[in-house]
Amino acid sequence: MEFAELIKTPRVDGVVLHRPFMPTVEGTLCLTGHHLILSSRQDNTEELWLLHSNIDSIEKRFVGSLGHITVKCKDLRVIQLEITGMEECLNIASSIEALSTLDLVSLMYPFFYRPMFEVIEDGWNSFLPQNAFKDLESMTDEWRLSEVNKDFSLCPSYPPLVAVPKDFDDETLKKVATFRHGGRFPVLSYYHKKNGMVMMRAGQPLTGTNGRRCKEDEKLINATLRPGKRGYIIDTRAINVAQQAKARGGGFELEANYPQWRRIHKAIERYNVLQESLIKLVEACNDQSHSMDRWLSKLEASNWQTNVKEILTTACLAAQCIDREGASVLVHGTEGTDSTLQVTSLAQIILDPGCRTVKGFQSLVEREWLQAGHPFQQRCAQSAFSNSKPRHEAPVFLLFLDCVWQILRQFPCSFEFNESFLVLLFEHAYASQFGTFLGNSAAERARLCLPEKTVSLWSWVNRPQELERLTNPLYEPNSLVIWPSVAPQSLLLWEGVFLRWNRSSKCLDEAYEEMVHIIEYNKELQTKVNSLRRQLAQLETEDPLLHTP
């Protein structure tokens, strides 16, 4: 087995581990193909099991023959290992470095992981497009499920099945696909039951400098409009960025060719800018200088909160067009795989109570992120600590989760899941034993045979014991549209992720548990009261003596 070549020293004794807010542990360090394990072989101390793929960067330092390795993880945790012996330390460090940066997907842990739990429901089959379409069919007959992309040839980043307007045959779709970036022709993302309006998403139109047009594309999106109604195109780029895109063959929908659509430009940051924002934010959070001014200016300079605000604002705009204006919406940026998905998925959380349940949210992530072709593997290859030059990395999904957290915080009773669920998704998007977030598209996932060879995250999550931990005790279904406040004053830093390892959450966790306990007990008592009432009513009807005065 090839991992063995990378592991020069598989085990070292007497290693001391320092973790934030946990007691120091001394024990044996073992390296396996996928894990860094530290065990003290004492019953009461917690072991450390760390996936190599969770390691973002390591630093080594020597004081005499005592080596210090600082391991910085993608989930933003920082731990320290003290290893005696220079050679051991160097070996361990270089092994970790090699193992944590393996590029080959098929060597990743999900392919080796065997579940230690009983799979009740196979997550790979939980959210198939055809099932989602059945729900749609119950509401409208204006859409059909097209198999035009069944071999991924038309659009490599789309799933095999997509929902398109009923009257458009696959031939037309093929023509439209040539006019959209990456073949991402407009498809249905959300149907608003209340008024029949829809949200679609696509890649940018390839108008180029000479203003190319595509009649089929125009017809396709016009087909979603009600007679006499206008629709909105939300372009997630600033107007000048969209203009510049023309020079590279891209562009935007010209008013002349799409007279029934009003185009709105919203600037959402992309790629490197977002990655740098994350790096700066995490750096600010770990700043030890103890100066309030410094912290607040670093927070401001990171621009992270601004990014959160811009994304939420755009999502609110999309939701507003649909719900308040009663208009259909098409969302796109350049590729339509990043900011576009942030907007369409957040708009659904605002509009659709179904997306605020545990299952509904999983389904949303599956539909709008995994099947919609967000390139998870590229975007989440490195996190905030990496020293390597970022290529395709960008915390697009993390920003989405942050936005969801903001809404959840503002509407604490409207979500069936709690913050832990969002944190869990963040962790697994970056490093996981499950195959869900592997690959960059449905096509890649099919090629890797993930459903056959790996376990789905949803299989693990959708078991009673996990669900219990992830559900919000305050949940009360709220069928209304929930409009989050996007005023800067209303948006908070997501402490649960960014300050998670810098603060002791013991007291907060205790309070949360206490609250859960109170609510549970309250429910129990309610049931008791109800059953006693029933018994009393029964006795009253059965026993005639009770009626005589």
Binding site: W295, L296, Q305, A487, P488, S490, L499, C507, I518, L525
Partner: protein
């Protein structure tokens, strides 16, 4: 009655009231000597808004045609707007509000007129007295005594008639020591740490002056405090430089040569005007509607409010460290000893002493440290963040305390017996109240005006069963441990419940808390039945 001359128009019909979080409503406006009363005309679900005129910090009027608009900015940070038909009526109303909201005469204030039917004037005003407090602390008897040297307020006008001092120090020594401290505030005991018998004392600055006067009696008094221990600490809430400069104006600090067993720390805490300006900037930032994240964060930073919170908590942390970890007694003072000294001694007690973390305990603590030890409430809270009046003595020291307590509550949600709602209520009451608790600047003034005979006490009202239920923390579980707050800037947050109280999003959070509270109450009922 004298209010009448300020009220030219007492009633106006067809007024539109706009208030945050609610749709505008149309109705009748009345002005009385102390209140602004608005009742809307809806037959079915009629709503009334009763606002203490005292709560109004600033008003702005704008005329357009024959009608006018009055914007009222309240001390509880609410902003209300009245659309009044008729220019003359509008001007009259504005004039009445302007005059009546800042009447200076204390005995004309509403607490002297507040007579709710379900409440008779109390036999005892306040929760406790220095005498009662001393009598309950048996562990003090051996080394400490209750001195009534100040019974007629002649030794120190700002102290209560009875104070706790070392047993070995007689009243004559106290009198001499008092002359050596600003305003006569000689060192008195404010907290006894049962775990190790160490104490927190507070006082004002010693009056060294430029020629370095000394006072044997003051030295003796402090010597007696650390009898049997190797040393004590002095926490001066001014920077070294500020303390040096104070000598020019007759003040100063305890010099090493005369107080050789005392080790002095200087921790600069902002006070007075700077603090008031910080509040004004913060409130301005919170009301900023430019919708720009950078602007909000730089304004927040610029206001320095969170730095003041951090500073207060970390200085209190230092105090706790001296007493609890290091096991030594501490004397706290700044200049007057009526602002920052109280702030940090209060916080330190909350951090160390579980008895101060219950609702009674906390209110008792406020009574001892702020009412009896004299924080000049009337001067400090005359105006809040909106006033255009030139600042005089205003300073939100008490609000800063409440913010710090809120930070503690947020970091230790189980450890405090009261909830955020209590802090919000106190933050409102301190600026405008039906009760007499926060009237006047000292005990002496309170006696002169018969506050204790003629007004109701807020703290007692808050402890009535219904109120107590409302303000208690459903998650409370007593812990004997000290609750050490994290003072990392990353751990401290803006107190949204107060500063953003009148914006939409805080509402949903309140609803969630309300939900839990209801559940606990129901639970209690079910458990009893």
């Amino acid at each position: 009655m004298e209010f009448a001359e300020h009220i030219k128009t007492a009633n106006v019909e067809d007024v539109v009231l706009r208030q945050p979080l609610q749709p505008p409503s149309r109705g009748t406006l009345c002005i009385t000597g102390h209140h602004l009363l608005f009742s809307d005309r809806e037959e079915s679900d009629s709503r009334q808004v009763l606002l203490l005129l005292r709560n109004i910090d600033a008003i702005e009027k704008r005329m357009s045609g024959s009608s006018g608009t009055i914007t009222m900015k309240c001390k509880d940070l609410r902003v209300l707007q009245l659309d009044i038909p008729g220019m003359e009526q509008c001007l009259n109303i504005a004039h009445s509000i302007e005059t009546l909201s800042c009447l200076d005469c204390v005995s004309a204030m509403y607490p002297f007129f507040y007579r709710p039917v379900d409440l008779s004037l109390p036999e005892q005003w306040g929760l406790s007295s220095p005498e009662m407090h001393y009598s309950q602390m048996k562990e003090l008897y051996e080394k400490w005594r209750l001195s009534t040297v100040n019974r007629d307020y002649s030794v120190c006008p700002s102290y209560p008639p009875a104070v706790i001092v070392p047993k070995s120090i007689d009243d004559d020594t106290l009198k001499k020591a008092a002359k050596f401290r600003q305003g006569g505030r000689f060192p008195v005991l404010c907290y006894y740490h049962k775990k190790n018998g160490m104490v927190i004392m507070r006082s004002s600055q010693p009056l060294l002056g430029a020629n370095r006067k000394r006072c044997k009696e003051d030295e003796l008094l402090l010597q007696a405090v650390i009898e049997g221990s190797d040393k004590g600490y002095i926490i001066d809430t001014r920077s070294m430089q500020q303390a040096q400069q104070a000598r020019m104006t007759g003040g100063g600090f305890e010099s090493k040569s005369f107080y050789d067993r005392w080790k002095r720390f200087h921790r600069q805490m902002e006070r007075g005007k700077a603090l008031q300006e910080s509040l004004i900037k913060l409130v301005e930032a919170c009301g900023d509607e430019s919708n720009n994240m950078d602007r909000w964060l730089s304004k927040l930073e610029n206001s320095k409010w969170l730095s003041h919170v951090q500073n207060a908590l970390s200085t209190a942390g230092l105090l706790v460290e001296c007493v609890e970890r290091d096991g030594h007694s501490v004397l706290v003072h700044g200049s007057e000893g009526t602002d920052c000294s109280l702030l940090i001694s209060t916080l330190a007690q909350l951090i160390m002493d579980p008895c101060c973390r219950t609702m009674e305990g906390f209110l008792g603590l406020l009574e001892r440290e702020w009412i009896q030890a004299r924080h000049p409430f009337q001067q400090r809270c005359a105006h809040s963040a909106y006033s255009h009046a030139r600042l005089q003595q205003e300073s939100p020291v008490f609000l800063l305390l409440l913010d710090c307590v809120w930070q503690l509550w947020r970091q230790f949600p189980l450890a405090l017996g009261f909830s955020e709602a209590l802090l919000l209520r106190l933050a409102t009451e301190v600026y405008a109240s039906d009760y007499g608790t926060f009237l006047c600047n000292s005990d002496q003034e309170r006696c002169a005006l018969e506050v204790k005979e003629r007004t109701h006490c807020l703290f007692r009202a808050l402890l009535r069963p219904t109120e107590r239920d409302y303000y208690s923390n459903p998650l409370y579980e007593r812990t004997e441990l000290a609750i050490w707050p994290s003072v990392h800037p990353q751990s401290l947050q803006l107190w949204k419940g107060y500063f953003l109280r009148w914006t939409q999003q805080v509402r949903h959070l309140e609803e969630a808390q309300e939900e839990i509270r209801n559940m606990v109450i129901e639970w209690g009922k079910l458990a009893r039945s």
